[in-house]
């Protein structure tokens, strides 16, 4: 399964994207913005404001209520294998019988294709990704034997193994210690340097200021969007978070 080639100046375009959980009355007013390759976009806003909803809509996990998402002028569905979602640790079933290598190889499933098993090349890429995440030599350990930070690194290795064009991170800085935070920073920078577009949903404003090139402020609608140095201002943050931002002032 080959995804269409991607030009250096290709852009990720969200055009009037709205989404929500079935049966929920939560509404995210249509969101539109676009970013170029190598950008790291912080999606920020109060809890319940819709940042996770937006991320999952782009990921294809939630169906879109309206609008469309394109990368390089093509629907995101045509890039599926190259779209990596790094979930929160609680979203996954850690009692599942599988090794770190098994989990990373799952990221290659679209490349492997239906009815096939991973070949030598898939295994090489998976092992190399685990090695880059400092988990070399532990590939056969069961996933529950790893610490929280290591489990996140298994997911990052899986994202690496997808050879992604777009990486979506859901609250990646939550409960992560200093050492693992440094790894996370290095991976995000490496993705960006490779021309990968990174979307990070987070409530950690220090990280947003340090790591992102642009921010999208979400509170049931797109409150503001732009380069981080211009948009990350007390005024926009107050407009986004309302009264919740006592900490920041």
């Amino acid at each position: 399964m080959t995804a269409p080639p991607l030009d250096a100046d290709a852009r990720l375009v969200l055009d009037g994207v709205s989404a929500g959980y079935a049966g929920s009355t939560f509404d995210l007013a249509p969101v539109s913005f676009e970013v170029g390759r190598g950008e790291v976009v912080g999606i920020i806003g109060p809890n319940g404001g819709g940042k996770s909803t937006l991320l999952k809509a782009v990921a294809g996990v939630l169906p879109l209520r309206s609008g469309r998402v394109t990368l390089g002028g093509r629907p995101l569905s045509e890039h599926r294998g190259r779209l990596a979602f790094v979930p929160q640790r609680e979203d996954v079933h850690w009692g599942f019988p599988g090794s770190a290598l098994d989990v990373v190889l799952m990221g290659r499933n679209r490349d492997i294709g239906w009815f096939r098993r991973p070949d030598r090349e898939d295994r090489r890429i998976a092992l190399e990704s685990l090695q880059r995440m400092g988990l070399g030599g532990m590939e056969h350990n069961h996933i529950s034997e790893f610490s929280g930070g290591q489990q996140q690194r298994i997911f990052l290795a899986r994202a690496l193994a997808q050879e992604p064009r777009l990486v979506l991170l859901d609250e990646p800085f939550t409960g992560v210690d200093t050492a693992n935070r440094a790894v996370l920073h290095a991976v995000i920078r490496a993705f960006a340097a490779d021309g990968v577009i990174v979307l990070v949903a987070t409530h950690d404003l220090d990280e947003v200021q340090e790591m992102t090139t642009s921010i999208a402020c979400i509170n049931r609608r797109l409150v503001a969007f732009g380069p981080t140095e211009e948009t990350f201002t007390p005024e926009t943050l107050r407009a986004t978070f309302g009264g919740q931002l006592a900490v920041f002032a």
Partner: protein
């Protein structure tokens, strides 16, 4: 000793019963692995109840019970698939209301017949000693088909079981994969109905797989162990019931339960004894007991 093992084999009905229980044991142990990992035990139970009117109608019409159950089971699986897709319905409640009512329909239908207690007994608790050669053949064909599908799609089914978000992100048809899994579970339950009956089949699907999970941390091994424990419990249970004159289905289920309990205590890594030893060691090497040495890359 050899008489104990060989004596029952002189009867054709025991030969058929042994062949059938090996098929049912492998099928339920292997498919049960996915039932346990996906937490589908309740849905499995509902399926077993829901196919009952199909069984009864086929039985009263003199048609193949297996066929009747398969048809109703497939319809039910589709119904559950659609129901669980729409999150507005609380699926537990809907399944509880609807499918147990199906079961009652089956009971009402058969209770109008004369001599229904005996018929009811054989349908509810299975009649593996009365199994026909055709039934054994059909069961074998279903086993081969189910194993082939699992062999071809295990990678995808495992992904959906572990991380459904990944499957959706990669653009996999999760609804259809879920439906396929439900149909595999249905086929397993329907095949098992004749041997151990509606009431006990769930135990045969869940227990060997649960025991297997205690014995290994690998999915393919868990399936193999599940199948082996299912078939082994079936054969041992059948022999015990032959010699003890006890109900075949119930004895088979209790044998599987015994294997589970032994695994729970003695399994090499996840057993209670091993866990206690690990905790004791952990006092000396505290960090080894919990997580692997943590050395993030520079």
């Amino acid at each position: 000793m050899s008489d104990l093992l060989l004596d029952p084999l002189q009867y054709p009905f025991m030969q058929r019963a042994l062949a059938e229980i090996v098929i049912v044991g492998i099928l339920s142990g292997v498919v049960g692995t996915l039932v346990v990992l996906r937490g589908l035990a309740f849905i499995g139970d509902a399926l077993a109840h829901a196919v009952f009117p199909g069984v009864v109608v086929a039985y009263l019409a003199g048609a193949s019970v297996l066929l009747g159950a398969l048809v109703v089971g497939a319809l039910t699986a589709v119904g559950i698939g659609v129901l669980t897709r729409n999150r507005r319905v609380s699926e537990d409640t809907a399944i509880g209301v609807l499918f147990v009512a199906f079961f009652a329909v089956g009971i009402v239908l058969i209770s109008r017949q004369t001599g229904f207690t005996r018929d009811l007994g054989s349908l509810l608790f299975g009649s593996i000693l009365g199994i026909s050669t055709t039934d054994v053949l059909v069961s074998a064909i279903i086993l081969v088909v189910v194993l082939a599908i699992l062999f071809l799609l295990l990678k995808e089914l495992a992904m959906v079981a572990f991380d459904v978000t990944l499957a959706k992100t990669l653009g996999y048809p999760v609804f259809w994969l879920d439906l396929l899994l439900l149909l595999l579970v249905t086929a397993t339950i329907v095949v098992g109905l004749q041997s151990v009956g509606n009431i006990l089949i769930l135990a045969l699907v869940v227990t060997p797989a649960a025991a297997a999970r205690l014995l290994t941390d690998r999915l393919d091994h868990m399936m193999a162990f599940g199948g082996a424990i299912g078939a082994g419990s079936g054969v041992v249970g059948l022999y015990i019931s032959y010699h003890a004159g006890s109900s075949a289905g119930a004895t088979i289920v209790l044998t599987a339960t015994a294997v589970f309990l032994v695994s729970l205590v003695l399994a090499p890594k996840h057993g209670l004894v091993a866990q206690a030893l690990l905790r004791r060691q952990g006092r000396h090497h505290a960090h080894h007991a919990h997580a692997l040495e943590d050395t993030p890359p520079a």
